[in-house]
Amino acid sequence: MRTISFRRTAAPDPGTPGTPATPATLAVDDLSVHYGGVRAVSSISFSVAPGASVGIIGANGAGKTSTLKALMGLVPRGGGRITLGERDLTRVRARDMVRHGIGYVPEGRHVFPGLTVEKNLMLGAYARRWDDGTRSTLAEVHELFPVLGEMGGRLAGALSGGQQQMLSIGRALMAGPRILLLDEPSMGLSPKLVGEILNALKRLREEGLSLLLVEQNAKLTFGATSHCLVMENGSVAMTGTSEELSQDPRVRRIYLGL
């Protein structure tokens, strides 16, 4: 059973059987998405190197979420190829993606509202055995987001938006992923909470977890990633390092339709 500690810089807990993840690059090649007759995403390609943090930004309706969902297999993948390291994930079903080390934090958080925080987290580790390994991962999640420990017995639906976002991230971490896909983690959150989430993402990244961050909030994304893709009308309009893009006036034009 793979029990990957996502916190590798800190001294491992005595009970943690934390084996480091084998580094692997997530590569998406020529992925398209169609809904009915509409092409939502056309032939998008990118890769996320081990430990890298890549952002996909763009205005509403540019195809960011569709890209992520197709990557996860939650919507039919219309052609293209997805690999993680040597492994071909193109035909892997959505429910098995997590077993290949893909963690997914959906847009709008999608916690299980009627279950407790603790249960939500344990379900994050559904694909693993519930044993000491999961318990130590749980301890790590609690350390990352102390509020989840304090609120363990609360129903997830009763949490605030920010806490739900933390829970959603924590739930994805419980599976011990190699790469975390995040869809709009800042949506509807106050600046303070966005700051906290970003802090946590930064820590995860420092510990070697790869991140793929889909955001509308470009500025935030530039701060949290090293490379970005800017999507417009279902395809990639620009790519570059986050630093370059943050200086590029075209990004704003794409957003505001100027």
Partner: protein
């Protein structure tokens, strides 16, 4: 007073059975959003199967019950598998599909067991107990105890086991459940077979209380259904409260309106559900429009 108490006690034991039927409905509804109209007929098959193993094969009542539950759980798996293509698509069609299965099960019951019903003797032949002047049949106490155990068991399963938690997660958000690695189809199949097993338990228990024949399902099912709605569809405590309420209402109506008890029960029920469509514990799941 005495009479009211007697009515109450009489209602509670049947109510416990309705609660079991309602719990099965609720479980399936909660996990799949499907109202299983064949549920009643599954309970009827359960009643027949249990009585056959008990009376004909002379198995102990408890063993007969377990075998009957296993048989009906298998039937539940078949139904779920056949209707799976319609899941999350056409709600009304699925509903009609389960009615179709109900017709099939009734025919099967008649083919196997014939049209004449059977009376099942009580496994507890002891004389009724006298509690504060109210006569309570020992079998009624057994039924209530078994029903209570089943409620606790289901609650334990949902609250304490990984599969139970997963089943609830599927109900709440099947996409998020898929993303954490839960096989939604398998979870639904499991829910369906547990629901069927609960129906069989209700059917088996009701055998010695009522007359077992092919129409048993109708009576049991519609009241179980009403119980589930009254308590709030999808809620386990709601199923229990609703079941007991319908049981008591039923027994009261039978005492006061004799032949019209069913009519009175359903008129009261319709009025109650009009006032509060989401039931006692229900959430806003009523009109999906």
């Amino acid at each position: 007073m005495q009479e009211t108490l007697q009515t109450l006690v009489g209602g509670l034991s049947l109510g416990a059975v309705y609660a079991l039927v309602a719990m099965g409905f609720s479980l399936v509804y909660r996990t799949m959003g499907l109202v299983n109209f064949a549920h009643a007929d599954i309970a009827m098959i359960g009643a027949y199967a249990a009585s056959t193993f008990y009376l004909t094969h002379r198995l102990p009542f408890a063993v007969a019950m377990v075998v009957a539950i296993a048989v009906t759980a298998a039937i539940g798996l078949v139904i779920e598998r056949v209707l799976r293509p319609l899941e999350n698509k056409d709600f009304d069609l699925m509903l009609i599909g389960t009615i179709g299965f109900g017709i099939v099960l009734q025919a099967v019951a008649i083919l196997i067991w014939g049209t004449t019903g059977r009376a099942v003797r009580s496994p507890l032949p002891a004389a009724p107990l006298d509690l504060f002047g109210v006569r309570v049949r020992t079998y009624d106490l057994l039924v209530m105890a078994v029903a209570a155990l089943a409620v606790l068991g289901l609650a334990w399963f949902l609250a304490r086991t990984k599969r139970g938690a997963a089943m609830q997660a599927v109900a709440m958000d099947h996409e998020a459940a898929t993303a954490v690695g839960i096989d939604v189809g398998r979870s639904n199949a499991l829910a369906f077979s547990i629901g069927a097993g609960l129906a069989a338990l209700a059917g088996g228990l009701v055998g010695p209380m009522l007359y077992v024949d092919a129409s048993l399902g109708g009576a049991l099912g519609i009241k179980g259904f009403a119980a589930a709605m009254l308590g709030g569809f999808g809620s386990i405590p709601g199923a229990v409260v609703g079941g007991l309420a319908i049981g008591v209402l039923d027994s009261y109506a039978a005492g006061h309106f004799q032949g019209y008890s069913v009519l009175v029960t359903f008129l009261v029920f319709t009025a109650a559900i009009m006032i509060r469509p989401m039931g006692v514990f229900g959430e806003r799941t009523v009109s999906r429009a």
